[in-house]
Symmetry: C2
Subunit: 615 residues, 2 copies
């Protein structure tokens, strides 16, 4: 041991030098990495448990494969922190999820080691198959390695990918990182099925025994009887593995201990030798190596900064649009047995845990399956139930066709609570809610509410639930209502504040607040303008058009992508409407800063108004 060298991440050529480490050095490196993860995430916030769970796995992957020549794809990407540390991003790791810093997900424009973008679940197999197919067509013998959590297995896109990948003659290796946790506890039969695979018995040992015996059967039967007698379950497992994956055309390796570097590397090397699509089943423990996270991984999935010793997240939001929606829906559910609440693996994020506790039989967590969630709502509604699907704006994009086909065409009544609408911040371009206004207002039979306060949210939710037909959307931002103005009596239509100005400033949702701030800022400038705060933003309203036409200029500020926006739709009717919306994808950053960049801060709004007022 005298020639033992403590590995120093800061002075290694990464990922190359990882291959030079011996087992003890690997173990030491893993604990160093865990320390970095806990220290950093405690300051920056981010996904802790999922990353602590795959430290050894990530190290093993980089020791067995050659990134970026071999392509590594992380589904969702919230488990890619160690990958970032091992591919030359250690020195910038403290900028994680900060404006201009490292993304909390995989970004090809951040590093050549991030082979494909990640953020939305379940796209990795399809992307990996595309990459593996391209390499095959170009005559490359390189590997494509996909790392997939069991949570992502609940999304239909993965299944479409597996259905096509199994029969492909590519060097595609799919690592199923099985920790029995997606964002909230895993749901659905596939989870149950995978758990049966998560068996103490080594799949391979059992399999060899039984296959050999089966082959010999006609000659000697005793062996088989022994195998059966020893464990019926073992046979079942062999057959399980052999159908769900091998009959989809994959070779199956595993289950492997996801915290045993040697076992992992042997398994990955075996998969490499097969040179065909392989599923490698790896069992990991979410939060591994950090007691508080191991004990309560849910809490540490995606968190704000927290205190390392106790591990208590210092950001808890009972005071948020999400929780207000959740509380109000419970109230509504008390008096209306037809209310059903649906979430796609975001029970806690959407505030539906309260409804789930109170009305378990009317609560449905469908897994990461937004398409199913929408169509399921269509089925419920067709029988007179009142489904309420609470979902993040950027994830609802998955249900676009189902919204049109299974709800809008029949003018079916369903409520969609669009959470995380508008700019979300730290999670970047894959998670911003920029498009829901455009794609929902471009759909027939849709009504959209955008409350600016908790009281308006409650009113809108009640009105939406009690409507008789059509898709009723209630959209609201992430986090708490930071409004510091009395916006007058809450309503579900609009508020028109008249100061005798010839200019009208218009907005909806949380941005409305900035109109009032701007008014204060312009107080002494002698510039006078009126304010219109919309709550029901779509369909367009003739009353609103008449108000617009009564002004010289209408400045419409909107926290939404510019094309398909409400301001654009009104501008197409009223020639005096000037839209100020968001001009493209928005990278990660502080919400206030990003709003300012987009020209939606009080200061920027005041500037625009000033320009117009001064002609």
């Amino acid at each position: 041991m005298d020639d033992f060298i403590i590995p120093d991440l800061h002075n290694m050529k990464l990922p190359k030098d990882l291959k030079k480490l011996d087992k003890d050095q690997c173990d030491l490196l893993c604990s160093q990495i865990r320390q970095i993860l806990v220290d950093t995430v405690s300051k920056t916030g981010g996904h802790l448990a999922s990353n602590l769970g795959c430290v050894e796995l990530t190290l093993a992957i980089h020791r067995v494969f050659d990134s970026p020549k071999d392509k590594i794809i992380w589904d969702v990407g919230h488990q890619s922190y160690t990958h970032k540390l091992l591919t030359g991003r250690l020195d910038r790791f403290d900028t994680l999820r900060q404006e201009g810093g490292l993304s909390g997900f995989c970004r090809p424009d951040e590093s050549p080691h991030d082979a494909f973008i990640s953020g939305h679940s379940s796209n990795s197999v399809s992307a990996g198959l595309g990459i593996a197919t391209a390499m095959k067509l170009k005559g490359s013998k390189r590997y494509t390695v996909v790392v997939l959590g069991d949570g992502a297995m609940t999304g239909g896109l993965v299944y479409e990918g597996l259905n096509n990948a199994g029969k492909s003659e590519t060097n595609l290796i799919i690592i199923l990182n099985h920790n029995e946790m997606s964002i909230s506890k895993n749901v659905g039969s596939i989870a149950k099925y995978l758990s049966t695979l998560r068996t103490k018995q080594s799949y391979h040992k059992t399999k060899d025994v039984v296959e050999k015996t089966l082959d010999k059967t006609p000659l000697v039967g005793k062996g088989l009887i022994k195998a059966i007698r020893s464990s019926k379950k073992a046979v079942k497992n062999v057959m399980l593995g052999s159908t769900m994956f091998e009959d989809l055309g994959f070779k199956f390796v595993g289950p492997l201990d996801g915290h045993n570097i040697e076992e992992l590397e042997n398994g990955l090397k075996a998969a490499k030798r097969l040179r065909q699509p392989v599923i490698v089943h790896v069992n990991t423990i979410k939060g591994k190596g950090y007691a508080p996270a191991e004990k309560n991984p849910g809490e540490y999935h995606g968190i704000g900064s927290f205190e390392v010793a106790t591990g208590n997240p210092d950001v808890v939001l009972p005071d948020s649009f999400s929780s207000v929606m959740g509380e109000e829906l419970v109230k509504i559910g008390e008096n209306d047995e037809s209310i059903c609440a649906v979430t796609a693996a975001m029970k806690y994020g959407t505030g539906l845990q309260m409804f789930a506790k109170r009305f378990p039989e009317r609560f449905f967590d469908v897994g990461i399956a937004e398409e199913h969630a929408v169509t399921f709502c269509g089925g419920l509604a067709s029988q007179g139930m009142k489904p309420v699907f609470a979902v993040y704006s950027s994830f609802l994009q998955r249900g676009y066709d189902e919204l049109i086909h299974d709800l809008a065409i029949c003018n079916t009544h369903a409520v969609i609570c669009v959470d995380r609408a508008g700019i979300v911040g730290d999670d970047g371009e894959t998670h911003q809610g920029l498009f829901d206004i455009s794609f929902l207002s471009d759909m027939p039979n849709t009504t959209i509410y955008s409350p600016a306060s908790y009281s308006e949210l409650r009113l809108c939710l009640n009105e939406a639930v009690n409507a008789e037909y059509g898709i009723r959307v209630v959209r609201y931002p992430r986090g708490r209502n930071s409004s510091c103005y009395d916006l007058g009596p809450a309503c579900t239509t609009y508020s028109h504040i008249k100061n005798g100005g010839r200019i009208l400033a218009v907005s909806y949702g949380r941005i409305s607040d900035n109109l009032f701030k701007a008014e204060e800022q312009l107080n002494n400038s002698g510039i006078v303008f009126d304010i219109l705060k919309l709550v029901k933003v779509f369909p367009l309203d003739q009353k609103i058009v008449d108000i617009f036409n009564s002004y010289d200029a209408v400045l419409f500020f909107e926290e939404s992508y510019r094309y398909g926006s409400i301001s654009e739709k009104y501008a197409a009717i009223c020639s005096n409407v000037v839209p100020y919306a968001i001009n493209g994808f928005i990278k990660q950053g502080n919400v206030a800063d990003l709003l300012d960049k987009c020209g939606l801060s009080a200061e920027k709004i005041a500037e625009r108004i000033k320009e117009i007022a001064n002609g």
Copy 2:
């Protein structure tokens, strides 16, 4: 046999009286129904083979269940003709797919026996689960019966539905109608897997034997050896059935002979008794009972009218936008090895069969899996390939999130050929291509071409393929180019025809033609107007804005849904632009009639121009 009564569909109470028929009467009825199907579809066009394949199955369902109290859902719905005949729509059956007539798919507003809308594939399990769940919550003991083709099994939405349905405690019965044909020959591992289930051996017999033996094993092993020796495959099948479906939580019944009424009814009654989610596997022969269709079911999937004796479809379209695209892509592929063609089970419909034949290794039919198709293209493109995904407009809706997440965010270069764009006609509201312009132009990093002629289509396709970044969309209508005007030299930008008018009429795609027709019609009225024909319709172009601003009035006629349309986007910038687009969902009908209804015929366009000209 003297009391044998020939069943008379016209004078039966349907579906009630079906239960009174004996086996001989059922067989007789089935041949009567097949005659009606062939006669009608030969006149109206529609889906023949799929309907001929499930005559007995449909009859059996209506004899075992009580529609509409029990809910019957037909996935896609192109196999629901017999269901329509047996539920009181016989007298109107000759109006199939005609304006104001019966839909070729299921429509709840057409009959209470159509429990849910159908048209887009793979939504039936999710919708059925919603219905079954609602019935359970309301305390009903009724059944929900879903009929699913093996083609629909390639769609991820089905998998999301199965994953949730298996564990539900509902009376949901899913009939897997297995004919080994989706629209084109089935692809993917699931198809292979299902075929292994399509075994001569009766699943149940084998299963009983083996299960009994397994139970007894510790005591007597001989039985098992016998079972194994008799057929290893049998055991495999048991385990197959028991994993893919039973481990998803379903009971499994089948495979049943889909053309044997008694076997079908016994199987369905068995499923009924189980009172839990069941998969019933039924083997059918597509085109059953009509020789030409049996011989070549592909040709008879969705067809125009044809001649009964020979069964030759009288509508074949080598002369169509689809085939011109297909031919041109082969030409491009000859000189560019990076071109890959992708289809979602529409090889023939999109004209890609030529590319498939010439470059099989660069052609990918991914099954009915539009999400995967888009993300797969993202993977291919990330390695320098040039993917071209040819897809029907209304089906591309399924890939909305993937277009944003897996292509647009990274500004990845991929070509989307949007076929069946605009009004499609006979297939109705689920198949009209009304939304592609809105959702694609509301996406950053997207360019949209809408050629009006074959020569423009060729130019646009080449420009799209040779671009360096971004989503390049080429959209074109179903069928042939019926333009009778020389639109001047083909281009990929725009043509501006000046007649010295103060009014400008604008359009793109096939509608442009009607501007010239309108010009003729107004020839003697003294009304003079100029014409602008757009080819690259998005992004918006300052040159176009300048042209618009040089006119008194700009009338923009557009074959697209009004909200999110190009005309609306220009109207938001240019106050003199008046958009004329489509105002909502469009039911089935003749394309020319529907265009006229939407105000897009030459006559209606001429009227609008006249109104404006005469102030």
